[in-house]
C-alpha cells in the first residue's frame, strides 16, 4: 500500500535529511527545501511513498530535526 509523506512547510527548515534518505522521492530546490520529484496531481506537499521506500520514509519522519514530516495512510 502506498503512503503519503506530508511536509509541514510551517516547520520545515530545509535541513535536507529527508532528501538524503529518499533521493528518488525528494530533490532540493534553490534554497534547500525538499521538492517532491513526482508530484501527484501537482501536489508538492504530499509525496507518494511506495513499499520499497517505506522504511526510509519512517526514518525520515523520526530523524527530521524540525519534526516537519508525517507519514499518512
Amino acid at each position: 500500500m502506498n503512503k503519503k509523506l506530508h511536509i509541514d512547510w510551517t516547520r520545515c527548515d530545509g535541513r535536507g535529511l529527508c532528501t538524503e534518505l529518499l533521493p528518488a522521492v525528494l530533490g532540493r530546490d534553490d534554497w534547500g527545501y525538499p521538492v517532491v520529484r513526482h508530484p501527484r496531481n501537482g501536489d508538492g506537499t504530499n509525496a507518494t511513498i511506495g513499499p520499497d521506500e517505506a522504511q526510509a520514509a519512517r526514518d525520515a519522519v523520526k530523524l527530521c530535526p524540525k519534526l516537519a514530516l508525517v507519514l499518512q495512510a
Partner: protein
C-alpha cells in the same frame, strides 16, 4: 466609499427585497429597528440542521474568495462533530478580516448592515448546534459590530476579536490561530478545520457577506435567493470597484457581465485597458465580455474571488502594476514556509526586472521555473495565489513583455523605465 442605489425594495410584507439591492436594503448605518423594518424578524427558533438542506437548494457559495459551496462547509462541520470520539460542540466564526487591500465590501457591510451578519452567524450556529460564536474583523469595523451586539439580546454570546491588518490574516486557519490566542498565521493544513479547528473543536469559518446571504435565505428561502443571478451562480454578490474614479461597493447579480458591472459603476469603458478580478490573488482579464462567476468555461468566465474589480487604465503599464503587487505580496508572506519566504521575493525580483526594461531574454523562463518551485508548496494559498496573478499578467500583457524585452513599453510613452 459605498454606493447604494436609492431604489428601496418592497419589504412591507417581508417577502424579501426585490431586485439586486438585498444586503443594504435597510439603508446606511442600519440600526436594529431599521434592520427589522426592512427584513422582518429572524425566524431563528425554526432553524435546525434541516436548514443545511435549504442552503444546498439555494446554491450559495462562499463570498470570501474560494467560492466553496456553503452547505458543504456547514454540513462537514456538523459531521466533524459526529465523528469525534469526545463530542465537542462546534465553533462558528464570521470572518471579516478582509486582508486584501483592494477589497472593502466586508468593512462596508459590517459598518452598514452589521445585524444581517449577526443574523447569519446565529443561523449558522444553530444549524450546527455551535456553542461558541465569534466575529473576527479589523479595528475600523469593531465599533459598529459591538454596537450592534449591544442592541440585541440574542447576540450577547457573540465575541468580537480584532484581526490584524495583514494580507493573510483572513486565511481560515490563520483566523483560528488568531482567535486561539496565537498570531494570525496559517497553520499546516493536514487536518480540516471542520474536524479540528479552534481548541480542537469542529470549526466553521464563513465570510461575513456569506453569512448575510445565509440570514436572508433563512428568512425568505432558497427560491427567493435564486431569483437573482443564474442557475450556475445564483444570488447576488458584493464587489469592490477601484482604480478609476471613487472606490465603491456595488451589489450585483451572480453571473453578471464584467463590462456591465463597470459601466454600472459609472466607469468609461474606453479608458479601461484590463481589469484585475479577484484581487492580488486573482487574475488580469481583458476584454470586458467575461462573466463574473465562480463556475464556467475559462475563456468566458472569471472567478470573482472576494469580489475585487480593479481597473487598469489605458495609459498604465500592466507589468509595472503587477511587479508592484508581487513585491507587496512577497513582503506579506507569513515567513513560515521556505518556498514562499524565498520563492516570492525571487519571483518579484525577476518580474521587476522585466517591468523595468531589463532585456535579458531568459527572464520569462526563469519566472516560469521559479513558479514550479512555489506551486502547491505551502501551508496556505498565498504562494499559489501570487503565482496565478503572475501567470495571468504574462498572458494578458504578453505584448508588453515582448516590448519590454526589446527596451520598449507599449504604455508610458514608449520606453520601458
Amino acid at each position: 466609499m459605498t454606493h447604494m442605489t436609492s431604489q428601496m425594495p418592497v419589504t412591507s410584507q417581508h417577502l424579501g427585497p426585490s431586485g439586486n439591492n438585498r444586503l443594504f436594503a435597510a439603508g446606511s448605518n442600519a440600526t436594529l429597528a431599521d434592520h427589522e423594518r426592512a427584513y422582518g424578524p429572524l425566524p431563528e427558533h425554526c432553524i435546525d440542521a434541516t436548514f443545511i438542506g435549504v442552503l444546498e437548494q439555494s446554491g450559495l457559495t462562499g463570498r470570501g474568495g474560494a467560492a466553496f459551496a456553503s452547505w458543504r462547509k456547514v454540513s462537514a462541520t456538523g459531521q466533524g462533530r459526529d465523528g469525534a470520539l469526545l463530542r465537542s460542540r462546534p465553533v462558528v466564526i464570521a470572518n471579516g478580516a478582509e486582508g486584501e487591500p483592494l477589497s472593502f465590501k466586508d468593512k462596508t457591510l459590517l459598518l452598514h448592515a452589521p445585524h444581517l451578519v449577526l443574523d447569519g452567524l446565529l443561523v449558522a450556529a444553530r444549524s450546527v448546534s455551535a456553542s461558541s460564536l465569534y466575529v473576527y474583523t479589523t479595528a475600523v469595523a469593531m465599533p459598529a459590530v459591538e454596537a450592534a451586539i449591544a442592541e440585541r439580546r440574542d447576540a450577547r454570546r457573540i465575541q468580537v476579536i480584532e484581526a490584524p491588518e495583514t494580507f493573510i490574516s483572513g486565511q481560515a486557519s490563520a483566523v483560528v490561530n488568531a482567535i486561539g490566542g496565537g498570531n494570525a498565521l496559517p497553520l499546516d493544513n493536514r487536518r480540516r478545520l471542520s474536524d479540528s479547528g479552534l481548541k480542537g473543536r469542529p470549526t466553521l469559518v464563513l465570510n461575513v457577506e456569506t453569512l448575510s446571504h445565509v440570514a436572508l435565505i433563512a428568512r425568505y428561502g432558497a427560491q427567493w435567493f435564486r431569483s437573482a443571478g443564474s442557475d450556475r451562480d445564483p444570488g447576488t454578490r458584493l464587489v469592490s470597484v477601484s482604480g478609476r474614479g471613487a472606490d465603491q461597493v456595488l451589489e450585483v447579480a451572480g453571473d453578471e457581465g464584467l463590462g456591465f458591472v463597470l459601466a454600472h459603476a459609472g466607469i468609461d469603458l474606453s479608458g479601461v485597458q484590463a481589469v484585475l478580478v479577484g484581487g492580488y490573488h486573482g487574475r488580469w482579464v481583458k476584454p470586458l465580455d467575461y462573466r463574473l462567476t465562480p463556475s464556467g468555461p475559462a475563456g468566458q468566465t472569471v472567478r470573482p474571488g472576494a469580489g475585487v474589480l480593479h481597473v487598469l487604465s489605458t495609459g498604465q503599464c500592466g507589468l509595472e502594476a503587477t511587479a508592484w503587487i508581487v513585491e507587496y505580496l512577497a513582503g506579506q508572506s507569513a515567513r513560515q514556509c521556505g518556498p514562499c519566504v524565498f520563492g516570492l521575493p525571487a519571483m518579484a525580483k525577476v518580474l521587476a526586472a522585466i517591468a523595468g526594461g531589463d532585456r535579458n531574454p531568459k527572464l520569462v523562463g526563469e519566472l516560469e521555473r521559479l513558479g514550479t518551485l512555489v506551486a502547491r508548496r505551502g501551508a496556505c494559498h498565498h504562494p499559489d495565489g501570487t503565482l496565478q496573478l503572475i501567470q495571468s499578467a504574462l498572458e494578458i500583457f504578453s505584448e508588453d513583455v515582448g516590448a519590454h524585452l526589446t527596451g520598449n513599453c507599449t504604455r508610458m510613452g514608449g520606453r520601458a523605465a
